[in-house]
């Protein structure tokens, strides 16, 4: 089969880090990612199935890995070499379309009894992602035993697969996984009636806007977006106010009628959802959140140093939001699987439109660079298009935007 393989190589990681710091996404050109012909992974057990990806998205966490900016925290939680790709819509051998829920929790790992988190359905918090009959890997796409979406085939446990409704296009379906992340982040803290600020309007940010608007019932939803197309989409998806990063503090100040001291607000937003995960975005979040407000860190953070004095002084709660699982009951809704909510949201908000360009595997360097600069180029989600590609390695070049 054809696959993009990420190998452990300190020298190449260093090269990717250097290249990625010069041009975002350039790490794919010089780093440890390569296009390879591999044997298809063997199903590790009877409940495992072969999936042939149709579309596989490029996620912000993938970009951080390829550019060498990811945290070393993950090293013991992944196994090398791995095939990236966890945002996947694919096809089973019987032709059924499925979306992958990539977390490799207790059930997929054959761990019995399951850990308390998995027992409750909160698979994102699984305590056994480095244990069981699989090698470590917090998700498909980071585990050497399963393969990943950036290939023509991988294996997945039955519990990881969700059937795709006929009404969904492949583009709709590939947006389900990032939407699930957004849903989880949006529901991580109560936002009903609150002033909510979403920082960042890439894929995760825009999905979060849709999720907060439809599931969180905010009083006012302010979105901080860098690029014009992002601002347009944020408005379409339900933002009450969209501002550029340099205008964020002014906008929140005006919304909250706060005072300011040396540019820092005395009041602020009830909830800030940071969909970027950089030192700058967290500093901005802390600058615009009110005392005793909540900051949800949803974008995967890179390692950085930051001043937490405002968090301490203003008694702000910093809450992480990773992946998905189940969501607590709220607003007349029973406890629900995050993916079930994500399917509904993709359909309701038309999130398939966020897929801006697709590339064949062979053009992975271009694809990754495009993904890293999608916002600047007026795009959002970039994905690999594996439809028509065969496990034997049949190649068919397909242009961007196909």
């Amino acid at each position: 089969m054809r696959a993009l393989l990420f190998e452990r190589s300190l020298a190449k990681v260093a090269a990717s880090r250097l290249a990625g710091s010069v041009v975002p996404g350039r790490g794919a050109r010089f780093g440890p990612l390569r296009l390879a012909s591999l044997s298809e992974p063997e199903p590790p057990g009877p409940d495992w199935m072969r999936v042939r990806p149709k579309l596989a998205g490029i996620c912000g966490s993938d970009l951080a890995t390829l550019d060498g900016h990811g945290s070393r925290y993950f090293e013991p939680l992944v196994s090398f070499p791995f095939v990236p790709g966890h945002e996947v819509v694919g096809e089973l051998d019987d032709g059924a379309r499925v979306v992958l829920e990539p977390v490799l929790g207790c059930q997929a790992r054959g761990v019995h009894p399951p850990c308390p988190a998995c027992a409750q359905g909160d698979t994102g918090d699984c305590e056994r992602v480095a244990f069981g009959h699989l090698r470590p890997g917090l998700q498909t796409g980071y585990c050497a035993d399963t393969g990943g979406g950036w290939s023509t085939a991988f294996v997945a446990h039955r519990s990881q697969l969700h059937p795709v409704p006929d009404s969904f296009s492949d583009r709709d379906a590939v947006m389900v996984e990032p939407t699930a992340c957004a849903v989880h982040g949006a529901l991580r803290v109560p936002t009903e009636g609150a002033l909510v600020v979403v920082i960042g309007a890439g894929t995760l940010g825009l999905c979060t806007v849709a999720a907060v608007r439809r599931l969180g019932l905010p009083g006012t939803l302010v979105v901080v977006a860098k690029h014009p197309e992002q601002r347009r989409l944020a408005t379409e998806l339900g933002a009450d106010l969209v501002v550029e990063p340099q205008g964020a503090r002014r906008a929140v100040r005006l919304q909250t009628r706060s005072l300011a001291v040396d540019g820092r607000l005395t009041g602020g937003a009830d909830v800030v959802i940071d969909c970027v995960g950089s030192a700058r975005s967290l500093a901005d979040a802390l600058a615009v959140v009110r005392p005793r407000g909540q900051v949800v860190l949803l974008g995967m953070p890179e390692p950085f140093r930051t001043d937490l004095t405002p968090l301490w002084h203003r008694e702000v709660a910093l809450v992480g939001a990773y992946a998905y699982g189940s969501e607590p009951p709220a607003a007349g809704r029973a406890r629900a699987r995050t993916f079930a909510l994500a399917f509904e949201l993709v359909a309701d908000a038309g999130l398939g439109r966020l897929v801006s360009a697709t590339y064949p595997l062979e053009r992975y360097r271009e694809a990754v660079e495009h993904a890293a600069s999608a916002g600047r180029q007026g795009g959002v989600k970039v994905a690999f298009d594996l439809r028509g590609q065969r496990a034997t390695g049949e190649r068919r070049a397909r242009g961007a935007g196909a």
């Binding site: 106010l241 501002v243 205008g247 002014r250 906008a251 005006l254 009628r257 706060s258 005072l259 300011a260």
Partner: protein
């Protein structure tokens, strides 16, 4: 030789290019043959002895008023209010006329043994004046005599303890003004009447009022029915101020009004060409134009701004009158009209104007896009009596760089107004209904207005309303040479050249349009038949 009156030139192919102000600079533009250019009258002769003229005015008041000396007595409470930094434009060479007048008033007060005297800058909702600006307006001697003792105040329209509500007019308008002034035995108000809009009852009713009071006339409905702002008899803004002024008088508050008029000798001699008609430019004028233009082209914008704002105008006093408000103002208007009025026959399809670097609200500051709008559509458009210079559905073409730039200290609420309000709508009525109150009562803007040097939070709204009559009247507004994004944000059309703008305007008003250029500053008032 008496100064020549203003006049209207009809251009032909031999007419030299016309000077258009363009922010901190200017351009020579060729108007289509058959266009009209409205030139202001030449500066009137100044009074020979300004100090003596002031003394005479105080001693021989107009209307039902005693001479000022007879109104002053020991033990009384006297407040001398004066126009703020927004007048005159550009700031005048020292001594400022306010200094002359206030020194004369203080001499009389001292002679009468009045020792409770306070000077008060009538800021309304404008920014506070800096020490340098106060020293310039009042002179060092007056400043030193009052400021160190806390007797030089600046009206604070947001001081809950410093205002007094005097009830409502017959039309239900709240009249709330400065408490110190209202509780004085006498208010002496010192005006600079640069244009016909200034002075009269507007001095106290606006200059010393609160937002609660101002909102009754600084609103879209009133401004749309002020036709024009320079014609008090057809201006709802003035009608409302007059009601308030009469209410103030009926409340027992005594105002001794002093109004001064200046001639249109606006720019120093090194810029003499700015006040000359182009075909009369001397070789020296042409050389100065070329040299300054070339120099400005190489000068960074910030430096150019600083140079222009250091210009001190040679404005000279043409009249001073004092006494009862309405009688004084009537005489003042005669002088203003004598200096400014230019008869113009009929309206035009397209009105062109070159906007300079300064308006009343960016002295020593930045002319942000909202102020460009206000200067063009609020002030220049309103330089008429009778009918607007441009017909209903016509087009105004303004020339100004319109930078997307704001003074962060002076204009903080303007930034949010531009970023958030105008991004949503440019309709004055919608803006007023949806956003005004929130800005006007925002505690941060209030804090900055009171303690820093910021215009009040509601001020950008008033600037927008100032142009509301024009926005209602016009078919389109085109800005030549402006920042494209800033121009579009305001709902106007950008054009890179005057020629392009004229072509775009023809799409609105039809082919072969009539074109009129208002050649200001120096200022004028078109009397349109």
């Amino acid at each position: 030789m008496s100064p020549r009156p203003g006049f209207v030139l009809e251009t032909d192919r031999a007419t030299p290019p016309t000077l258009f102000w363009h922010g901190e600079g200017w351009r020579l533009e060729r108007l289509p043959p058959g266009s009209r250019i409205v030139y202001p009258p030449e500066p009137m002769e100044a009074v020979a002895d300004p100090d003596e003229a002031v003394r005479q005015a105080l001693a021989h008041p107009l209307g039902d008023s005693e001479p000022l000396a007879d109104l002053l007595r020991p033990g009384m409470r006297l407040t001398i209010a004066f126009d703020d930094v927004s007048l005159p434009l550009p700031p005048m060479r020292p001594p400022d006329v306010r200094q002359r007048v206030i020194e004369a008033v203080l001499e009389l007060a001292a002679a009468a043994g009045v020792d409770d005297v306070v000077l008060m800058a009538a800021l309304s909702l404008h920014r506070r004046m800096t020490e340098a600006e106060l020293r310039h307006a009042l002179g060092h001697r007056v400043y030193e005599a009052f400021a160190p003792h806390g007797l030089l105040l600046q009206h604070d329209a947001e001081d809950p303890d410093g205002l007094v509500h005097l009830g409502c007019t017959d039309a239900g308008e709240d009249v709330e003004i400065n408490k110190r002034a209202a509780t004085s035995d006498l208010i002496v108000y010192v005006n600079i009447n640069l244009v016909a809009m200034d002075g009269g009852h507007k001095s106290v009713a606006t200059g010393l009022a609160s937002y609660r009071s101002l909102r009754h006339h600084h609103n879209v409905r009133t401004l749309q029915h002020s036709r024009s702002l320079m014609d008090e008899h057809r201006s709802e803004l003035h009608t409302s101020n007059w009601r308030m002024g009469r209410h103030i008088a009926a409340s027992g508050i005594k105002v001794f009004q002093i109004e001064t008029t200046l001639n249109t000798d606006t720019f120093p001699s090194q810029f003499a060409f700015l006040q000359r008609r182009e075909w009369e430019w001397s070789g020296r004028d042409r050389a100065t134009y070329l040299a300054t233009s070339a120099s400005l082209a190489r000068t960074p914008a910030r430096l150019a701004r600083s140079i222009f704002h250091s210009i001190r105008s040679p404005h000279a006093l043409t009249s001073v009158q004092a006494g009862e408000v309405e009688a004084v103002h009537a005489r003042t208007l005669e002088h203003v009209h004598r200096q400014h009025v230019v008869p113009v026959e009929g309206q035009t399809d397209i009105l062109t104007m070159g906007l300079p670097y300064i308006c009343p609200y960016n002295v020593n500051s930045i002319m942000n896009p909202v102020l460009v709008m206000c200067l063009g559509l609020g002030y220049f458009f309103n330089l008429y009596r009778g009918k607007p210079l441009v017909r209903a559905g016509g087009v105004v073409i303004m020339s100004h760089p319109t930078p997307w730039e704001f003074h962060p200290v002076h204009h903080p609420s303007y930034i949010d107004f531009f970023d958030q309000v105008l991004a949503e709508t440019t309709d004055p009525l919608e803006i007023e209904a949806k956003f005004e109150e929130s800005f006007a009562t925002d505690p941060w803007y209030v804090h900055l207005y009171r303690t820093s040097y910021a215009y009040h939070g509601v001020h950008p709204f008033y600037m927008w309303y100032w142009g509301a009559h024009a926005l209602q009247h016009l078919g389109a507004v085109i800005v030549v040479g402006g920042d494209v994004a800033a121009v579009r944000r305001m709902g106007f059309k950008p054009a890179s050249t005057l020629r392009d703008a004229l072509e775009m305007a023809a799409d609105v008003v039809g082919p072969d349009p009539s074109v009129t250029h208002i050649h200001a500053p120096p200022l004028l008032l078109a009397d349109v038949e």
